[in-house]
């Protein structure tokens, strides 16, 4: 995350301005490999390190929660320039201000938990 600059606020901004391939390259490569790995595991019924079958749980069906939740997430992602993974990477890298973002994220999670039953899913 850090070395490839995926944890950089600037790279996220650049991504949403479509002014470089960089972030698309990172996500795209990870995705391409992920698709292949997943297909191989399924096709050859590859077992886990513990010898058990690997289960792929399908995501719950729906549209509203994904679109509404997604947009809210995206707004925050662009504003803070970090999603959950990079938040912790930046913490390790010493950018203490990210703690404010992390606290916000924890509170946002908590808020969701409280409001959940009142939200359209």
């Amino acid at each position: 995350m850090y070395k490839s600059e995926a944890a950089s606020w600037f790279r996220i901004y650049e991504m949403f301005r479509f002014e470089a391939f960089h972030m698309y390259g990172i996500i795209g490569t990870a995705l391409a490999m992920g698709v292949i790995n997943t297909l191989l595991i399924k096709r050859y019924d590859i077992k886990s390190f513990f010898g058990s079958s690997i289960m792929f749980v399908p995501k719950e069906k729906g549209i509203r929660r994904y679109i509404i939740g997604g947009v809210i997430f995206g707004l925050g992602w662009a504003l803070a320039g970090a999603c959950p993974g990079p938040m912790f990477t930046l913490l390790g890298a010493g950018f203490l201000a990210i703690l404010i973002v992390i606290i916000g994220a924890l509170l946002g999670t908590f808020l969701y938990g409280l409001l959940r039953s009142n939200l359209p899913h």
């Binding site: 650049e14 949403f16 995206g74 916000g104 924890l106 409280l114």
Partner: protein
Amino acid sequence: MEFINQPWPWYLSGVAIALIMLILQLSGKKFGMSSNLRTICSICGAGNQAQFFRFDWKAQKWNLIVVLGAIIGGFIAAHFMTNSSAVLINSNTIAHLKTLGFESAGSAYVPSELFGANAFADPKTLLILFIGGLFVGFGARYAGGCTSGHAISGLSNLQVPSLIAVIGFFIGGLIMTHLIFPIIF
């Protein structure tokens, strides 16, 4: 040695991320960072306030270790593997950011205007960082995942809900970057 100190090309990161997901899959787990936020809330006692946080968080300890790994990785990368941390984004982007007031564009890893000393002192900066985090946390749980859970794991499994989520991520990001930034900065 030089290679270690330079910024890494995108394909290396992409491969590394996919490898992590593979290791997790082969361990019978999933790759998803935002569920850790829920786990941390539960550890802090959120279960007393909402049903959502009453679950066996101890079964999620492995995911907290992934978080620890991310923290350690950031530490090692920043302190031992970096000569100059300036992120050289597109010069047009740099120019545009400067018109918004981000003088540190092109010469820092993250904007010092947001992550520097101002962060804890200036109310506007504090609010921006906090609200950014708030939306990420809320949105990720509402959508049931963030970039790792949906854009990478979900799409790898060809899940349509994940595609919808990712489209949502992008709509949100574009609105913020193109419509809201010019207003707040």
